[in-house]
Symmetry: C2
Subunit: 430 residues, 2 copies
Amino acid sequence: MIFTDSKSSNFRAEFEELLQRGKMDIAHVSAIVGNIIGEIRTDKNKALKEHIAKFDNWTPVDDSDLKISTESMKIAYDNIDEKLKKALHLSYDRIKAYHEKQKPKSWFDTEENGTILGQKVTAVDSAGLYIPGGKAAYPSSLLMNVIPAQVAGVENIVVCTPTPDNEPNELLLAACHLCGVEQVYKVGGASAIAAMAYGTENIPKVDVITGPGNIFVATAKKMVFGDVNIDMIAGPSEIGILADESANANHLAIDLLSQAEHDEMASSILITPSQKLADEVKIELEVWLQKLPRQEIARKSIEERGAIIVTSDMDEAIALMNEIAPEHLEVATASPFELLPFIKHAGAIFLGHNTPEAIGDYVAGPNHTLPTGGTAKFFSPLGVENFMKKTSIISFSQKAINEVGEECALIANTEGLTAHEQSVRVRLKK
Amino acid sequence: MIFTDSKSSNFRAEFEELLQRGKMDIAHVSAIVGNIIGEIRTDKNKALKEHIAKFDNWTPVDDSDLKISTESMKIAYDNIDEKLKKALHLSYDRIKAYHEKQKPKSWFDTEENGTILGQKVTAVDSAGLYIPGGKAAYPSSLLMNVIPAQVAGVENIVVCTPTPDNEPNELLLAACHLCGVEQVYKVGGASAIAAMAYGTENIPKVDVITGPGNIFVATAKKMVFGDVNIDMIAGPSEIGILADESANANHLAIDLLSQAEHDEMASSILITPSQKLADEVKIELEVWLQKLPRQEIARKSIEERGAIIVTSDMDEAIALMNEIAPEHLEVATASPFELLPFIKHAGAIFLGHNTPEAIGDYVAGPNHTLPTGGTAKFFSPLGVENFMKKTSIISFSQKAINEVGEECALIANTEGLTAHEQSVRVRLKK
């Protein structure tokens, strides 16, 4: 763990290391992933079945073996505990309500010469959601990907999830039933991304692919980008915390660990002007670590990728955090909204002492799929817009084209495009 | 040229060919582009200078030779004809007005238990615009890329454009002055994309790269995607026209040719239920072709990639056009707005007999950078949002977390993430 002060002589070198966090070197998996995609494009389900036998330890026989039945989803849903059912419904409802507010509208504007200009916003026809399986199979990931697609109005929603030993994760199945998803395939990794990007005998080709995954999944998404749209290329999870002395060190420590427990590669970074708070959090981290079932993962993450940085003041803390551009940012200060205007880059901002990051993973409403590794400088949270696209609308009257046609024809002519010029000129009437 | 009827026996095979238009096989240039990017990342301006010597036929000596002076932009602007100046200003003003309407706003909503949820929308810090040079150097491309970045509020705007023989395109320079762009570099191709993605001694690393280009530029954009955001991967230009007998065949012919004159690879496709119109347009195409300075390019494009398709009715015509998902779509019918609800996929729709596609290239206002090759099914026109990103905003009160905290903790526990669970539990107060 980096435990440092921004005034220390080697601070900038230590800090640069944090800025390099989560940078994935996909070069070494590119060839493998390229081959996998090529095999799926050529041999479709035949290749899928071979990949499943190799990676997931079971052998589908018919094409229909790849699909999970809606009956099994219903059974899984019926089997879950009532309290959990209620919690998942609360989560579903709140995520849906938030995303409905986010949905963009078509719009237009008119000019008195008869011009109409606007933008039509429509859902894509089909979306493919990748949901990790095995030990990292989270029903919340399904909700966070399905709901924005549903709110967008996508007609055809396909889910792919790896199913080691042909044993589907029951909670994931239950969540599929809850969301009303019907096309779920037991296919994982780069193969799943290729299957959804190009289609197979029974897995439809989609327009947009979203969802988290390991480096093979991320690389496959990048490779099929252009043939389909994708949400983002995401890496390990991370949290940044800006805090002052009003913060509770015990709470901040468990917040840091809530990222660290995800993954040894996760980053948890506290930046504060308070040396006292920094010292206390360091102690509380160890207290909490001893109590965690996932202590081993969390400890490795904190030791290798955690950081506590003490700054001269809050302005400096914010400036450093803007450089980091964390996926999750907690602002644990007395007046957090006062700082909001100065925070430039983060996937999601959690304001105040009652807003732990975990509340955003499940029930707050905003999406938990967020840009990592500093890409919050240019990527956005997953949302309804990832499942929609825009079309410009242009309508000119005779009067409108008369008013601007000469100028248009002149620019076209200057660019040497005389057919452009003529297509306008033939419509001008004096 | 495909001149066919949807009832003909081999129609579907011919149509499938149209659906494959613009599919770029980037595999054969990937290795070359990968090397170029690697060289720029390692050797920065030294590599840039070598690439310029090789591809653009001049040899920069100092790093400062790469940059175009703002004085030369001012001189170029002062030298252009008053009429053209007026036309470019009209274009600038209309593009700006449209994009301002498009700019998304930050928003929030509150709940009576003290919850605040929202989305903060902010500009990226820096953008890199690629503008082709040489014979395809269009000042309109500069306007269409710069203005959305400026409206978004991007502080740092960088332009790269290849400058063969070290002779900048005077119109492009004038447009730079008009737009107030100051950082313009004489760098082109994949080298320019790499320079903006990773930075060199004097070209800053940017967050977002946009702009048109050849297959090397498109491939480089795909390769750097993830390290920066990009707008889209675009191919040759295309136009689709839906028309009925109210359309003017002479006008439609020159509209088709206005795409064809761009590029031998451009596609121009008319779909109509009127055999009479189809026959007339075919004749008018030849009449117009003889008059065009760019006849050779336009003829090759029309012959190899043009199509006129006669359908049973307008519904079938629309269905086929939705499969094509053209970059530009003209609706040249008596009541074009009646068809708008049924048109699912297009980059931009030009409605009515007074709205030639070319009006959208220069003065209408909407962006002329549009998704090609069927990618309008999932990509959107270039716009202000390409230069902005979103951050989720979450703030819970004590009462709010009390209300949903148990459910949140339960889901976290079910997913095996106990630090998540505890980070919520420690904040619950009865």
